[in-house]
């Protein structure tokens, strides 16, 4: 059969030439890809990135975006719109990606809060199905929403400095909880472990580590009452530098324990309610208060 003409087995039909047909296919395919790229900015980005034509927007580490906005997006959005997972093909873990948008189009319209889907979604009333982050995750604080709105209203810039946003709510102090490294903890505990075990056998439930990730010790001798005195406290000398909290209320410790208490160089809190204070003990407690240790005793 020739490229164009009549099919021998079906003479009723005229045929297109293969060249013309595939030209149409190429044209239609290109149109479809272009329509996809137009409807889905993330798809266009993938094509540009593949061709090496993607240029990230200018940004600086001192910008309002980097200092105030990015941490909010990282904390609340990154788990679903970050490197691990891209819900709706949207990433919010970089300025370029955030400005590019997802499969439903752009979510940030620089300078326009009304046209920014991101602002609309984080500003919905609690309980709304479309609220972001979803109800299963912690919502944005009012100040965080304000920060994002100010940034978008001012043009969603990656370079405008923090000082340009004088009306932005003050940042909240960040609390950093360090991850516990069991190897480091074990190494720090090594000098204390031996004497601690001896003490725990001799005085059950009186001395413990303050937490699973700490090598510091807590002492609570209140359950032993008057059976715990100066001689017993002296037995804690090998670990005294590691003790950070001690509750000796109602025990029989007295004047002879003044030096033992002063040897607890890292002590932060001492309770001695119901303990008789002689001059030596009172002087020791005064000295400890001067060092900033919180001392709770019958005499202030």
């Amino acid at each position: 059969m020739s490229d164009a003409g009549v099919h021998p087995a079906n003479p009723g039909r005229r045929a297109l030439s293969a060249r013309r047909y595939f030209s149409w296919v190429a044209l239609l395919t290109t149109a479809c890809v272009a329509a996809f790229a137009w409807l889905r900015p993330s798809f266009a980005h993938e094509i540009r990135a593949t061709l090496g034509l993607e240029h990230p927007p200018p940004h600086s580490p001192q910008s309002f975006y980097a200092v105030r906005v990015a941490p909010i997006l990282d904390q609340h959005c990154r788990s679903c719109h970050g490197p691990g997972r891209q819900k709706a093909k949207l990433r919010l873990d970089s300025l370029g990606a955030a400005l590019r948008g997802g499969k439903h189009g752009t979510v940030i319209a620089p300078g326009s809060l009304a046209n920014s889907a991101l602002v609309q979604r984080i500003s919905l009333p609690a309980g709304s199905d479309r609220l972001m982050p979803p109800s299963s995750q912690s919502p944005l604080a009012a100040d965080e929403v304000t920060v994002i709105k100010l940034w978008i209203a001012a043009g969603a810039s990656g370079v405008r400095p923090v000082s340009a946003f004088s009306t932005a709510p003050k940042p909240v102090a960040q609390v950093v909880i360090l991850a516990v490294d069991p190897k480091v903890v074990a190494r720090e505990r090594r000098p204390v472990d031996g004497p601690l075990q001896d003490l725990q056998q001799r005085f059950p439930y009186v001395i413990e580590y303050e937490s699973r990730g700490s090598a510091r010790l807590e002492v609570n001798a209140t359950r032993l009452g008057r059976r715990f005195g100066d001689r017993e406290l002296a037995a804690f000398a090998p670990v005294s530098a590691s003790i950070v909290r001690a509750d000796l209320s109602g025990t029989a410790v007295g004047e002879a324990s003044a030096q033992a208490l002063l040897a607890m160089k890292n002590l932060r809190t001492l309770r001695l309610i119901g303990v008789q204070e002689g001059p030596a003990l009172a002087a020791a407690l005064a000295s400890m208060r001067e060092r900033g240790i919180r001392v709770y005793a019958d005499t202030p």
């Binding site: 059969m1 020739s2 490229d3 009549v6 099919h7 021998p8 087995a9 079906n10 009723g12 039909r13 005229r14 045929a15 297109l16 030439s17 293969a18 047909y21 296919v25 395919t29 479809c32 788990s79 679903c80 691990g84 997972r85 819900k87 499969k103 979803p134 299963s136």
Partner: protein
């Protein structure tokens, strides 16, 4: 005066209903996913899984043109067919041609993978596939990502399928669409040979019920 075309039956009703139902379900799954209608997406996916299981069964017990044993040829034969087509040689087949047979297998495999990964997927917020709780969250996330990627492959395969079907219609003057609706082809487009065998409809219904029960059994709590 032109003589009326003599038509020959080539496709049975179950295969045709399967083909068009699958096309509708792929479209329905796409639209429902794009618009967040995940309950509809789930039912569409389950219906697709049932149909795919049915088609696999039908490929072993169905009519001549539906059977894998008759339309799946070796890759060498499929390549030979494509080369012959490039030389504008015509080879007639009552059902799937050797290249089309491989396209059918590929689509069945990819759509099955899509349906199965969908069972384990989650949207991280409100939707969890019926089997998502049976694997770890990390694996569910991985399969969710795969579910999204495989869909792009399906789109490409569907596009290729449509391009090929239209190629036959407009370049080779061999309409594959109307026979897939009516089940009949012009006599001149069917190679001579022993008559095709058609299996009774009740066997198709039995296969469909079996497939539905299998899906129900897989998803039972």
């Amino acid at each position: 005066m032109q003589t009326p075309l003599k038509l020959v039956r080539v496709w049975d009703l179950p295969t045709r209903v399967f083909h068009w139902s699958l096309a509708v379900l792929v479209l329905c799954s796409w639209v429902s996913a794009e618009n967040g209608l995940l309950k509809l997406h789930l039912w569409s996916g389950l219906a697709m899984l049932t149909l795919l299981l049915f088609r696999i069964l039908w490929g072993f017990v169905g009519s001549s043109t539906a059977r894998f044993g008759l339309f799946v040829r070796s890759p060498r034969q499929a390549l030979g067919y494509l080369r012959a087509m490039k030389r504008s040689e015509d080879h007639l087949y009552a059902g799937h041609n050797p290249a089309g047979g491989w396209m059918v297998l590929t689509l069945l495999a990819v759509l099955s993978l899509q349906a199965v990964t969908g069972l384990f997927s989650n949207d991280g917020v409100r939707f969890f596939g019926p089997l998502a709780a049976r694997i770890s969250a990390a694996w569910s996330d991985r399969l969710t990502t795969l579910h999204g990627t495989v869909f792009d492959v399906i789109l490409a395969l569907v596009w290729l399928h449509i391009v090929a079907v239209l190629y036959y219609r407009h370049v080779r003057a061999n309409d594959l669409v109307v026979p897939m609706i009516t089940g009949r082809k012009p006599d001149a487009m069917v190679p001579p040979g022993p008559p095709l065998k058609f299996v009774a409809l009740r066997w198709a219904l039995l296969c469909l019920v079996f497939a539905a029960l299998l899906v129900w059994w897989i998803l039972r709590p």
